[in-house]
């Protein structure tokens, strides 16, 4: 076991991990951060996405030990002071059904809007293309992002 220290949603956290432990499992089972989900477990579906040093990564493809000294943000961190504009729009438009893909979608959207506050539909589609949703057919999700980011709306 090795003790690692990471900044999780703004808080410094210490945790003991084995080298073969996966970040997703450590976040969920040892650090109590339940928003990242295990979908495919091989980097295809995006349900486990978290922001690592500001960039979205598949937490199922990262060793926990790799994140020693790094910064991780999950949906818990994004919603710390209330829901973001996009999250509110997603609620209003009933963007999700089962909600399993929602955390990953929110992470990818957050990363996109950090770089590009007013993306066009193609840019939104490209940014979310690594997040699979099996319920909605994507339309209400894309519309939510679009509506929340139209000129004058994004905060």
């Amino acid at each position: 076991m090795k003790k690692i220290t990471l900044r999780l949603n703004g808080e410094l956290r210490n945790v003991y991990v084995e080298p073969e432990e996966i970040l997703l499992d450590v976040l969920r089972d040892k650090l109590g951060t339940k928003s990242p989900k295990c979908g495919c477990d091989r980097g295809d579906c995006g349900a486990c996405a978290v922001l690592l040093n500001g960039r979205s990564v598949r937490s199922c493809l990262v060793l926990a030990i790799e994140t020693d000294g790094q910064e991780i943000v999950t949906v818990e961190g994004i919603s710390k002071d209330g829901l973001s504009k996009v999250q509110n729009t997603m609620l209003d438009k009933n963007a999700f059904q089962c909600g399993f893909c929602a955390p990953g979608m929110i992470i990818s959207t957050t990363e996109l809007l950090d770089k590009n506050p007013h993306p066009n539909l193609e840019e939104i589609k490209e940014a979310l293309s690594g997040n699979l949703c099996r319920c909605t057919g994507y339309l209400p999700i894309l519309e939510s992002v679009q509506e929340a980011t139209e000129e004058g709306h994004h905060e």
Partner: protein, 287 residues
């Protein structure tokens, strides 16, 4: 899901420490860069290893260096870092376009170009670009340093010429005047492996370069096609003639993602489409 087999985790701070580790451990170690292939393989027990050497702590390997006539991509450079470089978009358009077509944002943020060629799956998006650019791979062991041409790099599906005690430091790519494209066939737009891919590079002296991925056991240049077109002006008729050479250049298989016949047909289509685009770019059409 955790990884069943235990291993030691090493995170060396510099190249020398890594090379000492590699010379001691040889086959008993795997290099970890982005991990988007390695972690999947460890989970699925396709790869078992006693040691994982994480090279992300070596700052020297995380650099993109652009000089007048050369680009150096360190072993830690991710596809996202390439996409975010306006300089590489202009100087290495084929590689830039290929980088954009790798998987999805969350994978590109971690996956490295060097990792891509070390995994060496036949469908790797980065290879056609590196082949048309005559890239060279810089590798080092504790006792020696050598440069390997990308044309000698791939020795079979998922196999390369790299020795167990060698570390890839990066890739050197010469800069020259050209335009080009990377055309990729996936089952849908967005995240998918290539069913077929072709990198095309054209210069103003009517030299044409082509390289494929996913339609043969290893990615390769298409020399017959290059010879046939050398010095010629591209016309619709000539494109049709040239496309007839494609089946003799490739050896696609039928698998879950598509049939050999479909791959061959689409290679012809993508060749024509891509070459027309490249020639138009050369004439200054940026649309």
């Amino acid at each position: 899901m955790a990884i069943i087999n235990d291993f030691n985790y090493h995170k060396p701070k510099d190249i020398d420490d890594t090379l000492i580790l590699l010379s001691d451990l040889k086959e008993k170690a795997k290099i970890l860069a982005g991990g988007t292939d390695l972690i999947v393989h460890l989970k699925e027990e396709i790869v078992k290893t006693e040691n994982v050497i994480d090279i992300k702590g070596i700052t020297k390997l995380n650099k993109i260096e652009v000089s007048e006539d050369n680009v150096f991509l360190g072993a830690g450079v991710t596809f996202t870092e390439i996409i975010e470089s306006a300089e590489l978009k202009e100087k290495l358009p084929v590689l830039w376009q290929a980088s954009e077509k790798v998987a999805s944002v969350g994978v590109r943020n971690r996956a490295t170009v060097v990792g891509n060629i070390c995994s060496a799956v036949p469908s790797l998006d980065s290879a056609p670009a590196l082949l048309v650019y005559d890239a060279e791979i810089l590798v080092q062991s504790k006792t020696s340093k050598r440069t390997i041409s990308i044309h000698d790099w791939f020795t079979g599906p998922k196999k390369t010429i790299l020795k167990p005690d060698e570390l890839v430091l990066g890739i050197n790519i010469p800069i020259f005047q050209h335009t080009g494209v990377y055309e990729k066939l996936g089952r849908y737009k967005g995240e998918d492996l290539a069913q077929a891919g072709i990198g095309i590079c054209v210069d103003s002296n009517k030299n044409y370069r082509f390289a494929y991925c996913a339609v043969g056991p290893i990615p390769k240049r298409m020399k017959k096609l290059e010879e046939f077109l050398k010095g010629k002006d591209i016309s619709d008729e000539l494109l049709g003639e040239a496309a007839k050479l494609i089946p003799s250049e490739i050896s696609p298989i039928t698998d879950i993602r598509s049939s050999a016949e479909y791959r061959t047909h689409m290679m012809k289509v993508m060749f024509k489409r891509g070459l027309q685009k490249s020639v138009a770019l050369l004439k200054g059409d940026r649309s």
